[in-house]
């Protein structure tokens, strides 16, 4: 028995060392998916007149001014000029919502504001209107560093997200970390595996031919490993986002980003 645990000790040490090494490499060598794209795609993202994500941003700008719901007020009615009031907001989401008792993401917050304050019909997840408003709000943080809130109430949820990130799921039995920590920069089929930093959401993905949310992307990956994806708006997806945002702390917001 003693011999067995002695034999295991170096193995365990080696595993721990690898995990630490992976975390260190990531910390020192963090890269946005932007850096792994072709120069053509980077040019497409950088030029607002060739970035199709700007269509949603412009739609969002219009919706921001449009009164909605029984209350008949627009987002701008309370929040005023988004350039000032929404600057840096997306970089701090998901945030703790005391009423819900759990974290809320930006799209969820917008939807909540719409039903509670504007007294309007809720916007469905992944609807063009909600994507447009989210993209418009997140766009006001473009270039600012991701700045996850230090709220201690978020900590247990962030830990859950971190655990989920490391948990193998699906028939392929892969964790997020299997690809995005240990094999980033290598190829999966024709695509380069990025480090999974959610810097540019909602983003325009060429594969989608449209703008999509981080939750859509996470669900894509889950379907890819043949797991049952969490539903849109599920607490697990928000916990995962919370962890990913803290992992990407300090990286610049790119919304609306382009990704292949």
């Amino acid at each position: 028995m003693a011999g067995r645990s002695l034999a295991l000790a170096p193995l365990l040490a080696a595993v721990l060392a690898t995990t630490v090494a992976v975390a260190d490499t990531l910390e020192a060598d963090r890269r946005s998916g932007y850096d792994l794209m072709s120069p053509e795609l980077r040019a497409m993202q950088d030029d607002d007149l060739s970035n199709p994500g700007m269509f949603w941003v412009l739609d969002g700008e219009r919706l921001w001014q449009e009164p909605a719901g029984a209350a008949g007020i627009a987002c701008a009615g309370c929040h005023g000029d988004a350039q000032e009031s929404m600057r840096g907001v997306a970089a701090r989401y998901p945030a703790f919502d005391p009423a819900l008792g759990r974290p809320q993401d930006l799209a969820g917050r917008i939807s909540q504001c719409r039903t509670e304050r504007q007294e309007a019909e809720p916007l469905a997840r992944e609807s063009d209107a909600l994507l447009a408003l989210s993209a418009f709000v997140a766009h006001q943080s473009r270039g600012l560093p991701i700045d996850p809130p230090g709220d201690p109430r978020l900590q247990p949820f962030r830990a859950k997200g971190a655990a989920l990130y490391q948990t193998p799921i699906g028939q392929l039995d892969l964790a997020c970390a299997s690809c995005h920590d240990r094999n980033w920069g290598r190829r999966l089929g024709g695509s380069t595996i990025p480090q999974a930093h959610p810097t540019g959401y909602p983003l325009y993905r060429l594969e989608w031919q449209a703008l999509g949310s981080l939750q859509r992307r996470l669900r894509n990956c889950m379907i890819g490993v043949r797991a049952t994806p969490f539903d849109f708006g599920a607490p697990e997806l928000i916990e995962l986002e919370l962890y990913l945002m803290s992992r990407a702390a300090g990286m610049a917001v790119e919304t609306p980003a382009i990704r292949p």
Binding site: D47, D48, L49, S50, P52, M54, F55, L58, Q209, A210
Partner: protein
């Protein structure tokens, strides 16, 4: 209307200028199926034209292989100040248009 047009504001006479035009459109190919396997009907922009001072200077036929939100870039020679007008024609006959001014010195 959802178009993004990039035309230089000013140019010298005789200069070659690049024009870029993008329009928001799903460009539904007609080959995809939706819920319960029901085919999604084709709905694409099949024609794009650009005119300057009422004269057509560039046109393109588009096909289902073109991606969503078609982006077209082309060049022309700046001959004088005026307005470029852009027209996108849909399968159902509807058109979208946009205009951009250029000042040529």
């Amino acid at each position: 209307m959802r178009t993004l047009i990039n035309v230089p504001k000013t140019a010298k006479k005789g200069e070659i200028v690049e024009i870029r035009a993008m329009v928001a459109h799903p460009m539904e190919t007609g080959y995809r199926t939706g819920e319960n396997g029901v085919p999604i009907p084709r709905q694409i922009i099949h024609r794009f034209t650009c005119s300057f001072a009422g004269r057509e200077i560039f046109a393109a036929d588009l096909f289902p292989a073109m991606s969503a939100n078609p982006f077209l870039a082309f060049t022309t020679v700046a001959t004088g100040s005026g307005t470029f007008t852009f027209t996108w024609t849909d399968d159902d006959g509807t058109t979208q248009s946009a205009a951009a001014e250029i000042t040529v010195t």
